[in-house]
Amino acid sequence: MSAPKISLKDLVTFLARALVDHPDQVEVTEISGAQTVVLELRVAKSDLGKVIGKQGRTVKAMRAILSAASAKLRKRAELEILE
């Protein structure tokens, strides 16, 4: 428990790949700061709706999972979907 090996990038990549039609086109870039980690998610244009969801529910759910993971790392994580 003292040194959890959690990769936020792997987590976001896994979640996105599970949701889209074109998992091969899922790309995640992790930008680490001292307190904050920014994860940039790119998917195929036709899959944008799949990762955003109705009224943003899917991306909101991914952010909730991400914040549980980042709490373990004692960091703040932000998920951005790039078009």
């Binding site: 899917t58 759910a61 914040s67 993971a69």
Partner: protein, 168 residues
Amino acid sequence: MSEQNTSSADPEDRFARAVPVVRSFLESVLGLLGVEVEVDIDIETDGLHCDLNTSPQNGGLLIGRHGATLDALQYLTLRVLQAEGFERMRITLDVGGYRTRREKTLRELARGIASKVRNSGRPYHCDPMSAMERRVIHLALGEMGLKTESEGEGRHRHVVVFPKRAEA
């Protein structure tokens, strides 16, 4: 929603086929979260119920504030099944009986609202709740003979409870 699938596939069969998909998704996500967990999946009449068995500390992490993490995981599981081509089914996740405790609290809340509405004779607007929590309120108040409706959109959606009209 009203479209009926003409295939004679038994729903239980469909739910059984979803079990390995759900198990693999949940075990992978929880593994990536660094949480050791045992996933128990039960086939129910309308879908699947999954119990995530883990330590109390990890349980708290998986539930999140007001169940936010658990709700998110449940929603994503549903979306993943949809992405895999499964027809809609009910998916519920629970950690250490959290849902059961929450349902009990909501039923107590419903009883309080019922007496309030009966005494005042006026409609009562509940606080906004998730679809799952609204369902508990609807069912509980329905059993008590009161009429309920959901109003508002998105995160403002809430149950409105109406005093029962005198039967003609």
